[in-house]
């Protein structure tokens, strides 16, 4: 059904008239032109489509656009501020914590939601949280190191 739906996207209010059953992932990628969230599996199994919904990392391929009415959505495009990378992004660059880069936006947002809830995670806590997100190139050891570096860098402040 066509509805007008509003939510906050990377700090700005958006309202759009759209088939309410469409997925947040594809509304972001087509109507809103934000292609950082990727289509990987369509079943919430890989994490490539991860976005933050009120700070929580969720697979946007499993969310209807209607379900985020009134919520705060952050995509990878909304993480850097005024041209300055977020400390998690910086840590991924510093550690070369990526290869093909297709899973990277999802990895960074997953790490963001972990560190917001648990600013000083143990190594095991990082592993078990990041387990939801798949990387085929095998950048895992560097992603873990990047999350640890970012946790250090973020000490004392939640962002």
């Amino acid at each position: 059904m066509i509805k007008t739906i509003g939510f906050a996207l990377n700090g700005e209010t958006v309202r759009l008239t759209v088939d309410a059953e469409r997925t947040l992932l594809w509304v972001l990628r087509t109507d809103l032109g934000l292609t950082g969230a990727k289509f990987g599996c369509g079943e919430g199994q890989c994490g490539a489509c991860t976005v933050l919904v009120d700070g929580e990392a969720l697979p946007s391929c499993q969310l209807s656009v209607e379900s985020v009415e009134g919520k705060k959505i952050t995509t990878i495009e909304g993480l850097a501020k005024d041209g300055k990378l977020h400390p998690i992004q910086e840590a991924f660059v510093e550690h070369d914590a990526l290869q093909c880069g297709f899973c990277t936006p999802g990895m960074i947002l997953k790490a963001h939601s972990l560190l917001a809830a648990n600013p000083a995670p143990t190594r095991d806590e990082i592993l078990w949280t990041m387990d939801d997100n798949l990387c085929r190139c095998g950048a895992h050891v560097r992603i873990v190191a990047a999350v640890q570096t970012a946790a250090e860098a973020l000490k004392g402040g939640s962002k």
Binding site: K38, F39, C46, I76, L98, Q99, C100, R136, C137, G138
Partner: protein
């Protein structure tokens, strides 16, 4: 040309190459926004004449050297390569090679990749060939361009060439450094064509300042911000998304398809083009709904073949073998042997499973086609699209943006042909994005394979017999590099066999064939070491003269802290080594096996490799880590299950890729060998993972797991058999 390079070529793809005409070359430079190009050529020097420098002796090489670079008036250097970037990191190492040989700042090099209109021809990005072969041509082009720039500078500055020095994109007179000119100032405003009379010398490795130094990935800024564009991210006005009617099983035949309901849906266009039945809609969800509205009936095949019976099927179809290597006399070896061990090892089908499924956006209009595709072979796609649409190659431009993982699976790019055919029929740009189910269904899997080995040791505990038979993995990695008096390697079919052998398509999967061969060889060697009462490392070294292999084994052992013991020692340490893409690699691992559950916990993997001159040691390290991590999957969890042509694993819920919690501590060593030109880096380390973990499981428990992946069930069965 090495045999393996020929084997990399996919059948059915026209790889003929004709050098660019001058007119085409100038057109290409025009597309780059100006003709500020150094165009030089050493007469009509055939590729063969350069073979000692490039390593290439045969055909199928790019000879349009000078299309590799463009020097702008702003002193920036465009480096154009027909290769694509899929995570392997050549976007960084090519820039290093260009900067090194042209003598410009690394930061001043801009990479242009995988665009058939802008880049020199290339067969495809596979076989760990980019750095070791294509890189040689990048260096040749830079070297020649530098010589031309020196000639131009001599004229401009009025100084003899002998007094000129190049440095960081400029040339000056060593007697008077203020007499200088930048490359950009020399090339400004014109296309320069010069003929050199002889090949200028390449920079000796001892003088390298950029190549051999570690650089971070140059694409990470784009990739951490979401700015990096993959094929599926590209949007064109009026474009639509396609979904295509697919059979439920391989070998299924369409009886009828009723598209009436789909045709009535708003904004939906139905296309029927021979066997291709597709629905188009402005958004992917609309296309999916329209596809669901098609009523289709298929006749399903009954083959009786599944993932368990496949091995008998394969053995029944084995062709006459070729002999990859032999020495001595097997009968003599049998006579000498005091102990003979005969085993059969199985390897399963595995998927490439890149996180980015195959994608293509095609715009066919005004007799031309532009296709963006996630492909490892943009020039191959250009050929295929030109044939599918009946357009000449010059009318087809293929662009491979960043590719979200390939591993061999995007050597085949059927999605690009589908998009092109649909765009031609629809008259608007069409995006084909395979779903994960389609990605599994149409993957060119690594083939299931069988290895039979019969080998023996003499009374001194030395290998005297090695009779090796490999079915459908191919010869890569089967070669014997040990000193064994009587050996023979028989190869029954390759990894690329066509219909009639496998129930679906198979193809190159990272180091094709070598994973199967290395697993079988190393597990079998562990059994022989056990039989001879020797430590597996010492046993290997007793049979090794090759100094490169001895060096990587000793480097791995040093890092690992290897201590001698006869397997099974109960410690759970494993060893594997091999040669792939001319790189020598050795790995050691430590595992714990839970006897109750059959679960294998990999604690630690150490890997050493000699890859000749490592252009970017950091990038090479990333590839080694990636190989080790990816290799955990085929060793432990990944297996494509199927029955009667229907795939039982079509998403990541049942097809288990390696996850964070399974990844061990990984340590890598690059054994320096600058005397050799760069060798392969993208594949070698993956070949050891089956062998190193299977030998570690054997060492831990005495269990011989004769099939990969070593699932808990297979481990438990092997434990029971071992008693």
């Amino acid at each position: 040309m090495k045999k393996e390079d020929v084997a990399e070529r996919r059948p059915g793809v026209d790889l003929s190459f004709s050098p660019l005409s001058r007119r085409e070359f100038l057109k290409r430079m025009g597309l780059l926004g100006g003709g500020l190009v150094v165009y030089c050529t050493v007469g009509d020097l055939p590729a063969a004449a350069r073979a000692p420098r490039t390593g290439y002796a045969g055909a199928n090489v790019p000879t349009d050297f000078n299309a590799f670079l463009r020097i702008g008036a702003d002193n920036r250097v465009g480096c154009m390569v027909g290769k694509i970037e899929m995570g392997q990191g050549v976007i960084t190492s090519f820039a290093q090679m260009m900067a090194e040989e042209l003598d410009v700042a690394y930061e001043s090099v801009d990479m242009v990749m995988g665009d058939t209109d802008l880049c020199p021809w290339d067969a495809g990005t596979w076989g760990s060939l980019s750095t070791r072969y294509y890189g040689a041509f990048v260096k040749e082009a830079a070297c020649e361009a530098k010589a031309v720039l020196q000639e131009l500078a001599a004229e401009r500055l009025g100084s003899p060439i002998a007094r000129l020095v190049t440095e960081n994109g400029a040339i000056f007179d060593k007697n008077n450094p203020s007499v200088r000119v930048t490359y950009g100032a020399l090339t400004e405003g014109k296309v320069i064509e010069r003929h050199l009379t002889e090949l200028p010398p390449l920079t000796p490795v001892s003088e390298y300042t950029v190549s051999g130094k570690s650089y971070r990935r140059r694409d990470s800024m784009e990739k951490v911000t979401g700015e990096a564009k993959f094929t599926g991210d590209i949007r064109l006005p009026t474009m639509v998304y396609a979904r295509i009617l697919r059979p439920p099983a391989h070998g299924a035949r369409l009886r009828r398809a009723d598209t009436a309901a789909a045709e009535k849906m708003k904004d939906v266009q139905v296309i029927r083009d021979d066997e291709l039945i597709a629905v188009l809609h402005p958004d992917p969800e609309g296309a999916a709904k329209a596809l669901a509205a098609i009523k289709a009936e298929f006749d399903l095949p009954e083959t009786g073949i599944d993932h368990e019976t496949i091995f008998d099927h394969l053995l029944s179809r084995a062709p006459t073998p070729s002999v990859a290597g032999r020495a001595g006399n097997l009968a003599a070896g049998e006579k000498e042997a005091t102990a003979v061990v005969e085993e059969t090892y199985l390897n399963s089908y595995v998927a490439h499973a890149p996180i980015e499924p195959h994608a293509a956006l095609a715009e066919v209009k005004d007799g031309r086609a532009t296709v963006w595709a996630s492909t490892q072979a943009p020039f191959g796609v250009q050929d295929q699209v030109s044939r599918a649409l009946g357009l000449s190659k010059e009318k087809v431009r293929v662009i491979a943006p960043f590719v979200g993982g390939g591993f061999g699976g995007k050597s085949a790019s059927a999605q690009a042909i589908e998009a092109a055919r649909l765009s031609k029929r629809a008259g608007k740009p069409v995006m084909v994005l395979w779903t994960r189910e389609e990605e599994f269904f149409y993957d060119t899997f690594r083939p299931a394979a069988v290895v039979k080995v019969r080998s023996g040791v003499d009374k001194k505990g030395r290998l005297c017999l090695w009779d090796y038979h490999v079915y459908f993995a191919g010869e890569r990695g089967s070669e014997n590099f040990y000193e064994i008096a009587n050996h023979k390697e028989s190869v029954y079919g390759g990894w690329h066999m066509g219909p009639g052998i496998h129930p679906f398509a198979v193809g190159p999967w990272r180091a094709p064939g070598a994973n199967t061969n290395t697993y079988a060889r190393d597990l079998h060697l562990n059994l022989m070491a056990a039989r001879a009462g020797k430590d597996p490392l010492a046993f290997r070294l007793e049979h090794l003269k090759d100094s490169r292999m001895r060096r990587v084994l000793s480097a791995a052992a040093g890092k690992f802290g290897w201590t001698e013991a006869v397997p099974p020692s109960g410690r759970g340490v494993g060893i594997s080594c091999g040669i792939d893409a001319e790189t020598y690699v050795a790995a050691m691992a430590e595992v714990a096996v839970d006897r109750q559950s059959g679960r294998i916990d990999v604690k630690r993997v150490v890997c050493a490799q000699d890859m000749g001159h490592a252009v970017n040691p950091r990038g090479a390290t990333l590839q080694m880590e990636g190989c080790i991590t990816m290799g955990l999957g085929y060793a432990l969890t990944e297996e494509v299950r199927f029955s009667d042509g229907k795939l039982l694993d079509v998403n990541f819920d049942t097809y288990q890729l390696p996850r964070f919690s399974q990844v061990p501590s990984i340590e890598t060593v690059i054994v320096k060998n600058d005397a050799l030109s760069p060798k392969g880096g993208g594949e070698p380390a993956v070949i050891c993972m089956g062998g190193v973990l299977a030998t570690a499981v054997h060492d831990a428990t005495g269990a011989v797991v004769r099939q990969l992946p070593m699932t808990p069930e297979r481990v438990k069965a092997a434990l029971r058999a071992a008693g």
